[in-house]
Symmetry: C4
Subunit: 192 residues, 4 copies
């Protein structure tokens, strides 16, 4: 089964998710500069989510490049990842509108956590389908970054119960960690 259409569909969904988030930036009805002030937390929240979707797109892109074949389970694990990512616009808006208060930050972290777990399952199903000797298995390896992210999200969620800004800061840290595309895969591609 070809991988072309799974890439096309994922790209479509990610492109829509990243763009409809902007619809939550409600246009103010008057024309003064200070009307933009209440939008500042919404914009900060939007920027973080934009980067997160960008990271997922980037890593998905990298991973799919060395994928050779897909099967039914992989299609569904990919849908599962897209499901959690599709909830990001909702959590982004709730977090931005409520100025990064406790429950919205916890929900945002929970959705990031579930998306990370979904990505982990997708990657490992792809590896087991391609075999432990495949380029893909070698490229992803032990997936330390994936495991660290999950631990950090959980930490962020717990800390958000104390002070929601701690949670937010940890989510920003994870984003930074992933910002750089997966060198492991790029290296492998150069070698082959």
């Amino acid at each position: 089964m070809g991988k072309g259409r799974i890439e096309a569909f994922s790209d479509g969904v990610l492109a829509i998710i990243i763009t409809i988030m902007v619809l939550e930036l409600k246009v103010p009805h008057s024309e003064n500069l200070q009307d933009l002030k209440p939008l500042i937390p919404v914009i900060i929240s939007y920027v973080l989510s934009f980067i997160y979707i960008g990271i997922y797109w980037n890593n998905h892109h990298h991973m799919m490049q060395i994928v050779k074949k897909v099967n039914g389970s992989i299609l569904w694990l990919n849908m599962h990842l897209l499901f959690w990512l599709s909830l990001i616009p909702f959590a982004t808006a709730w977090m931005g509108e409520n100025h990064f208060s406790k429950w919205p930050v916890i929900l945002y972290g929970f959705i990031l956590l579930m998306a990370a777990i979904a990505y982990y399952f997708l990657a490992h199903c792809l590896i087991s389908f391609h075999g432990k000797e495949s380029t893909l298995a070698a490229a992803i390896g032990k997936d330390k970054k994936g495991v660290i992210s999950v631990i950090m999200y959980i930490t962020g969620i717990i800390l958000a119960f104390i002070n929601s800004w701690f949670g937010f800061l940890i989510y920003v840290l994870v984003a930074f960690m992933w910002f750089i595309p997966d060198k492991r895969i790029e290296k492998k591609l150069d070698n082959n």
Copy 2:
């Protein structure tokens, strides 16, 4: 006539349908955990529709892989399928907001029924265009699953008049039945 653009257009429409459904998850204006509570039925409804669109995308993907050519009628039967699927976000929101009450559940079932019939027509037009000896005809065969779905949707709609949860449960059952991608087609592809 090539099948590439019909795949691209269908993927685009399905990607948008699956993503705009999330816009019906209205962001609550306050920041408490209990603000999410009224959203629970909307989310359940969203999950079911997400799975249904996923099923349609999956099966459409599988079927189109063994399609060799398309004609004008097939383009329009595909549009007809997309039309019914495009109404799913509306029915999903109505069903979720009204806690799975009678008429919304009936409407949801009716739209699923029409989509199933539209898919049936598309599949059978593709078969008659490729010939009864084609891989496609062999792969889809007598299409028992398609016929069973139609019967189940009708049963669900009728039962919803008695108790809407019966209807809902039957729609969930149909989704489970289709959850696994079409083994018949995968098998045929492996043989060729």
Copy 3:
């Protein structure tokens, strides 16, 4: 210059237009069957526009299949066509919500007229770029259907001043006329 990306972009825009129209089907807040009644004109209006966008996608698809190259002017004439088509969701919603009354029907016809003219310019620029001896020129020929459509839209707009239903009926007639994909092009493709 390749034609692939112009097809991809047009498909994307048309897929979004056809799908966001459904957002104008506002979900009723109560759960009774009669709550759907005020939506009937909106749905009729939606069906007509869905068919129109389908027609444009179909014919665009057919025309682009025999296009060999594009240039800057063609990119912009294509954008011009997409601009008018992008206004269809607005006119559709206004017409549906106001039960096919005079001005909304006139505006809807005006936008269809402008889209038809935009398509005409696109087709003729493609012909002059490919040469009068090209397959494309032979396939489109004198474009009688395009000219008849323009005349019918104008007639529809004028009749709408008397009774808006006359205008609406004429738009339905034009849609029927175009419903069948362009046999001229399909025939030419078979010969080559």
Copy 4:
């Protein structure tokens, strides 16, 4: 690393941006011609933004045609460009609804300025990745048009403090300047 998916993702995002802008054209609830009058500035604003997104798509398309390879930084610089373009629907709506008054026009110009700078970074990163002797470097050359645009946007923003219409006029002028696709690249492509 292939360029195909970066093109597909950018096309998707641009197609969605250009289409969701139309959602800001709020459908009037009554049926008279004068109900469209308050929409006139919103439509003017929409037309300008439609042309701008068209210009970006056009030039992106042209530039990507002679790109041979991409890397991680280029993926992110492309995301950065899409980020600023994704804010255009917001600025468009604010500017249109407030009849081109001071702060909305300044914000609109600021977003155009940031998008122009993002495009500049993307182009120059592509050049340095392909080498100074590459077709791409020769085609883009000193990028006078890019530099002039940045200067004009800044001028427009400053003039908008005096009279917002001056700013608006300058944005229209920049659009005209870019309206014609990049002849430099087209010429280079013909020579090779």
